[in-house]
Symmetry: C2
């Protein structure tokens, strides 16, 4: 029997690298999807390509989309500063300026379209509701609502057998648990890129929310993060 | 008091031209959003610009997105033929090849992002569940599910006052009723473009599903469609 196909959203960060490894370990043939959305930290797209290659995905589709023209986020607007030094414990209580309006809704909508063309019923996304930045579109209640909508939106959902399922294998894990899980599956985190505001050669800043969470996760495993940080 | 802002999805066709007129008549300040999504019938973008100008929208944002690379539709893939001569009565019983996987989900996701940046709670889309081609993402149950999801996806939905509302003023109207409504609001349907497979100068084919429905709607009002059709 051929493996079922899954569309996996792949940013090139630590979470999505773990997610694609989990999809493969669960017996799916992974098709990875990334977005060139005007993110200022576009080094993550090079990371996504490295991760996709290492994970042996069947295809890696990178779509160029125009989120920057909608604006409203520090990740797409050079005039909005990425916050630094908040520390992992201060996060989650408010929605920070790095939030990109409706980003996960847009990414999942594309994944849904591609899944439909591929005849796939399964979509994986590495959202996390525990060690996260407080984005509303990372919460399980959002994912559930998206899944319901997806099954009404599509030919697949309305006419054919198996319903569409949005898999969120990381949603209830801490960053430390995500890293431990990925390492047990052979993920090379040295290939990934997490920082919101990397240096010219892709070095992580070590101070933004994403870096803070990542460093805490490695520290809690008693490990050193394999990526390069800006020297201070 | 300033008018509330609404994001209106504008394809440049008959339905969306009517929808933007309705949004204005209901007291909204309309911001129109269109997509250059690799549609083979891209003359509709010129129509969208004409309609936006005539409707006096505050801004008309055209986003270039990569739906063509996902494929799977006669509207984006030149190798899939647009069906002709099915007649308006044969439609609605199956999902035709002109269906673009997850298109309305993707369009609404972008509208949601823009609404969030604009501080708007209202999104208008001219879907129609009566005289339509049988697309799953035109049905009221899809729109309701999207609205629920939208209110969980966003800063607006989760933190601030008025919930997000997806307005579908045409959903229960026949094509003839839509045209009558639009004419009463002063819509110039000569500016619009509906055809899935227009000629080189933008003339409508008169035979695709979209043309069939449109012609029937004008005929039922005892009117002649003001756009130009390919001579036969």
């Amino acid at each position: 029997m051929p493996k079922p196909i899954a569309v996996v959203l792949l940013s090139g960060g630590l979470d999505s690298a773990t997610t694609v490894a989990i999809a493969a370990a669960e017996g799916y043939e992974a098709h990875a999807m990334s977005f060139d959305y005007g993110q200022l930290h576009s080094v993550e797209l090079a990371a996504a390509a490295r991760v996709a290659r290492a994970a042996g995905v069947t295809r890696h589709l990178v779509l160029r989309i125009d989120l920057g023209r909608i604006g409203g986020s520090a990740l797409t607007d050079p005039n909005i500063q990425v916050p630094k030094g908040r520390g992992a414990d201060a996060m989650g209580s408010d929605i920070p300026v790095t939030y990109v309006p409706a980003r996960n809704t847009i990414f999942l909508a594309y994944a849904l379209g591609w899944a439909e063309v591929l005849g796939a019923s399964d979509i994986f996304i590495g959202v996390n509701a525990l060690d996260y930045s407080g984005y509303p579109d990372c919460r399980p209640e959002f994912i559930e609502a998206f899944e319901k909508m997806a099954n009404l939106a599509t030919r697949k959902g309305t006419q054919e057998g198996r319903p569409i399922r949005i898999h969120t294998p990381l949603v209830h894990l801490t960053k430390a648990q995500i890293i431990a899980r990925g390492l047990s599956l052979g993920v090379d985190y040295g290939l990934t890129s997490t920082c919101y505001d990397p240096g010219p050669d892709g070095q992580a800043c070590g101070l933004c929310d994403a870096c803070s969470l990542r460093l805490k996760g490695f520290a809690e495993n008693g490990l050193r993060d394999p990526v390069t940080y800006v020297a201070r």
